[in-house]
């Protein structure tokens, strides 16, 4: 009896010591995960949270630019890559400081609703219609609207003609809808759900291109992501001319009046960084060595061509 009780006491103590040790380890780990973000340097690093459209991420343009910014401003950049729709949603919820998107119409709404301010245009390129070399719908060199019409028509008759849509409310998805509209179709009635020829991927640009490649289908892509992925793809550019294919990238900060904890100072630094002369050169030359042509064009001197005000490409935000 005595022996058992003694034994129990020891094991009990051991258990308690073990439990305490476990909790301490857990706490240390938690501190390790959260605390070190503020501790490692004596001067606290500012964090900039960016929600970006997938094309700027998948092309590795942001991977190229963020180290330059981090060095210059002693900041840490956290990039969440999502379609423009999701990026705007994060912005609307105040979960990021800055958004990099490419959907003019929805940006306007976002700004009008008071969520975004200080929009600047920093880059542009073009969308392309890509598809299999065999081009079963015969759309090569057509105008974008005519090509879309042809794909829809052939797709309904021929099983081998498939169009893969981003289907994720991204900027590219918006552009695709705009082209369907320009071609005279009602998107939800005539395109979506009109047959197996039209498939929605619900994912980023890179993933959609990979999927389109597997299915030997057609898709609309920004030229940047397409070039960055081209090495792994058997898809070729079929349509690349038409005013409607213009693709304009903007950056804006979340309105600090709506979300006071937003890091507005560093957000402005990022916007001004992107439209600065040096970085505009970086953007315009990014990828030339690897792909033989730029993935993006600098917006700085082409504001007339892309139809935005000069102030929107040149004036730093204050």
């Amino acid at each position: 009896m005595h022996v058992l009780r003694y034994f129990c006491l020891i094991t009990m103590h051991r258990r308690i010591i073990f439990a305490v040790a476990t909790i301490m380890v857990a706490l240390m780990l938690i501190c390790g995960c959260t605390g070190t973000t503020t501790d490692p340097t004596p001067v606290e690093k500012q964090q900039l949270r960016i929600a970006t459209t997938t094309s700027l991420y998948d092309t590795k343009l942001l991977d190229h630019l963020t180290p330059i910014f981090e060095e210059k401003y002693n900041a840490e950049v956290l990039v969440v890559s999502a379609g423009t729709g999701k990026a705007l949603e994060y912005g609307q919820r105040g979960d990021v400081d800055v958004m990099m998107v490419h959907d003019r119409a929805r940006e306007d709404t976002f700004i009008a609703d008071g969520y975004g301010i200080d929009r600047r245009v920093f880059a542009y390129n073009y969308f392309v219609l890509v598809g299999p070399e065999s081009d079963p719908a015969g759309v090569k060199a057509m105008a974008p609207e005519a090509a879309f019409t042809a794909i829809r028509e052939k797709g309904m008759a021929d099983k081998n003609v498939v169009f893969v849509s981003r289907g994720d409310a991204s900027g590219t998805h918006s552009k695709e809808k705009a082209i369907w509209k320009a071609a005279g179709f009602n998107y939800s009635a005539d395109v979506q759900g009109s047959g197996d020829w039209y498939q929605e991927a619900g994912t980023g640009m890179g993933a959609t291109l990979t999927m389109t490649n597997e299915k030997e289908a057609y898709t609309l892509s920004d030229i940047g992501t397409y070039l960055a992925y081209k090495g792994d793809l058997k898809l070729v550019t079929l349509v690349d001319e038409g005013d409607i294919l213009l693709n304009v990238y903007s950056v804006m900060q979340i309105n600090p009046e709506k979300f006071p904890e937003t890091n507005s100072t560093i957000a402005k630094d990022w916007i001004n960084f992107l439209i600065s002369d040096d970085i505009q050169k970086e953007i315009g030359s990014f990828g030339v060595d690897k792909y033989g042509q730029p993935l993006f064009y600098a917006a700085q001197n082409d504001w007339e061509k892309i139809g935005v005000a000069e102030a929107e490409v040149k004036n730093p935000v204050a």
Binding site: A19, L29, C33, V80, R93, D95, A207, T210
Partner: protein, 233 residues
């Protein structure tokens, strides 16, 4: 086929040379999921014991509910945590979204039911003779609990391993609340093995995916091996 072979070879190279990116992601995965498992254990084991030895109305239904939550979809947990910690959510002021802490919270909640349920099973499987002996020897409540837990320690260890396995292999919640961020500092990044595999595959970097997949499997195997070694000792 060529792609798979080439991918595996490249994967082995990345692992053998201790590729810094792959290693950082692996270590981050372990730290996050291990922390979640430890926190979940602190809650789940006492809770499981209380439910197993307690007598209260609705006990059976509670156990049923817990067992139903075994299959709690990871994306649902992710969505729930996302809504709670997003800036406009009730805990938004803490600025937890897109941090490793958010991932730890999500994984803890995800594995809490299965760990509680398996603890109940582990304790109820303890030989009734031992329980009766303890009682007849006049053990206090605490002594009783400690000794039954000791008796069931291998099964509880297995419970912890199952919890860790589920935490480290889930991707839905990790990507929703973590955001799959690759930052310049280790502690701010939220890219773990599963989210990295998802991203790399979608970007067509198959060898990187295979390497990360192998690392994930090795971790899972290692944990199970460690558990079985302890159990057979």
């Amino acid at each position: 086929m060529y792609e798979i072979v080439e991918g595996v070879l490249e994967a082995l190279r990345l692992i053998v040379t201790l590729d810094p990116d792959v290693m950082a992601i692996a270590v981050r995965s372990i730290v996050i999921s291990l922390t979640a498992t430890i926190i979940a254990s602190i809650f789940a084991i006492p809770l499981g014991a209380a439910i197993n030895f307690g007598t209260f109305p609705g006990r059976k239904s509670l156990i049923n509910l817990i067992q139903t939550l075994y299959s709690l979809p990871t994306v649902i947990v992710g969505l729930l945590i996302f809504l709670l910690i997003s800036r406009v959510g009730p805990f938004g002021f803490m600025r937890l979204l897109f941090t490793p802490t958010a991932m730890i919270i999500a994984q803890t909640i995800l594995i809490l039911p299965i760990m509680t349920g398996l603890t109940i099973s582990a304790l109820s499987a303890v030989d009734p003779v031992i329980r009766d002996t303890l009682r007849s020897l006049g053990a206090t409540r605490l002594q009783f609990l400690v000794n039954v837990l000791k008796e069931a320690r291998f099964a509880i260890l297995a419970t912890v391993a199952v919890g860790f396995g589920r935490a480290i292999s889930e991707v839905g919640a990790a990507i929703l609340v973590g955001g799959n961020i690759a930052a310049s500092s280790f502690a701010s990044s939220t890219r773990v093995l599963t989210t990295a595999i998802s991203l790399e595959t979608s970007m067509g970097n198959i060898s990187q995916s295979i390497a990360l997949g192998i690392v994930l499997l090795v971790i899972a195997l290692g944990v199970n091996l460690a558990i079985t070694t302890v159990q057979h000792r």
